[in-house]
Symmetry: C2
Subunit: 386 residues, 2 copies
Amino acid sequence: MLVVFASAKLLSEIFERLRQPGIVGEILAGILIGPSVLAWIAPGDVLSALADLGVMFLLFRVGLEVKSSELLKVSGTAAVVAILGVISTFGLVSAVLSWSHTTRNESLFIAAALVATSVGITAQVLAARGLIDLRASRIILAAAVIDDVLGLIVLAVVTSVAQGRWNVGELLLTAGLAIGFTIVVAVWGAKALGAIAPRVEERLRVAESQFVLALILLFLFALLAVYSGIAAIVGAFLAGMALSEHIGSRVRELTQGVSNFLVPFFLVNIGLYVNLSDFSSWPVVRITLVLILAVVVSKVAGCGLGAIRLGRVDAMRVGVGMIPRGEVCVAVARVGLGMGILRQSSYSVVVLTAVVAAAIAPPFLHLVFRNFPAAVPGEEEIYRLG
Amino acid sequence: MLVVFASAKLLSEIFERLRQPGIVGEILAGILIGPSVLAWIAPGDVLSALADLGVMFLLFRVGLEVKSSELLKVSGTAAVVAILGVISTFGLVSAVLSWSHTTRNESLFIAAALVATSVGITAQVLAARGLIDLRASRIILAAAVIDDVLGLIVLAVVTSVAQGRWNVGELLLTAGLAIGFTIVVAVWGAKALGAIAPRVEERLRVAESQFVLALILLFLFALLAVYSGIAAIVGAFLAGMALSEHIGSRVRELTQGVSNFLVPFFLVNIGLYVNLSDFSSWPVVRITLVLILAVVVSKVAGCGLGAIRLGRVDAMRVGVGMIPRGEVCVAVARVGLGMGILRQSSYSVVVLTAVVAAAIAPPFLHLVFRNFPAAVPGEEEIYRLG
């Protein structure tokens, strides 16, 4: 516990002093204390649970800053951004892999794993700088939610192809459930809560009833999201968004306390899963470098193209904001590993590609959002939420 | 996650409506969803980790409300309270057990396990009602810290006796380390931090540096406490106390968010460890009932006697405040189980006795502290901390 938290914050401090984002330092702390370098800490159930809670609280907190009505306004653009981003990433990664010695099924799985943007990193950067309210930020958030649903559909299709069976009904059911849940919560969630929550709250005698209700909703939505097949963090984000218009500043503060405590575990945990020893052979390093380039270029180009009508600056912001990959990639890659489609080295390649994509996004984000007040060190400035 | 948190809060709500302390409801929620009733949730690593973190944050938060200078003022009385409480509990429990069919070693271990007061429950009740600043509250907190050190020494002695070897040097070392750590931190901790912390903080560029530093100290002190042989929560409490004079309201709020989120896991986890099926035979039930009576009476009488010079009212408060037992009992009982000294049924008896002692304390506490403003439902009133 101490090692994880303190090392994350130590490297974060070092990175801030080098004028680099602290987030990258925290991920590197994970690689450093993880099995491949110092071997102080091995990934385990408890750390993973704290990490999962951390990213859930992070997205919940971000959701609290977003009004669903404003997100729905940009949903058209966001859908185009998400779809183009998924197509370009899947296409480019598959094309790149067709030149290497991977089998067709393995290529398809790697491409499917690398499709899903993980909005955690971007959300953390934007939230830390108080930029969640910008149009580009909203498009990124909405696109990331849609992207997650699309990624799920891609995974379902790829799994069917890999298993040599095409069950259209099942695929449609998966897709329908995921899309249905997202739309219902995004469109009617806030309204429904607006009608119900205050009444329930008034009647509750338990201490801090608003915070308690908020947490129960958070867990409930995360659970429902997982049952619908999409990531728990999307549920957490939707829960936050549904609550954003009905919740007081005290709950925001309390939530922020939890998230400040848990987020370092999420960041360190990403780093812990990198096994550097798989990268001792040149072909593996080469394919990783090519894939990193591919996932960055494809999202910037694809998502940027989707947002081009907002002008070049915002298009660039959206594209860069969609670069990070995260725990969804790792989860999909683990499915592939379990099915015997991905080799161990391919698994490591996917994980490192995701981690590097996550780690290089923050500096680029700072660059494309540079004409806003810089992240001045100091608590009030950096964490503006709550 | 959802089940644990929601059921805890649901039963807490029901208990509040029945004008009973919500805490008891949360412990009962643990028994209810645990293996012996609904079997929805089994105790596991992740839950235990969250529970441990929960009680650490609880004691840390309580520590933040206590000034070490004021605690030291009452340390004389507190020492008498703790010593008399330990002697009377150990004596009465051993005496009671000598009439039953337990072996000498088993009796000694059960008595040693039931000695240690767990201040978590009392702290939660007093903190929730904003009564931490009272003289009786301070004596309870100081006595609980001393009690923990004494409990450790008793455990060391009992273990030596059970193993048939008396290593005086080792015992003295154990005792010296525990006492030394506690005194050093209690007496010089606040001063040292007062000199160092502000300077370090100023130089840090990481976001929310005060909160980060506080959490690192919390983990560090908890770790040092464990290395000194005492419970991590004592370390957490001492860390909070050392920081109490140097920390802003924002850190208190953030800490409270974490503690509000995690404390239900601590309370539910206590209940999860109760295995009701061990209580199907009358002798086991009888010995449990007798032990519950013994641990309650011995602490009220012993600790109350220790505080008698403060008048009957405060003596009663101190005695009642020292009733709860908690995770230290469970931990000691597990040591006995592992050494083959405690039978499975005795282990369950110790755990249930501890849980009942924890669960019946809050109503008594409300009774003896009744001439203070009642716990009015509503967030600001109930959680006055921070």
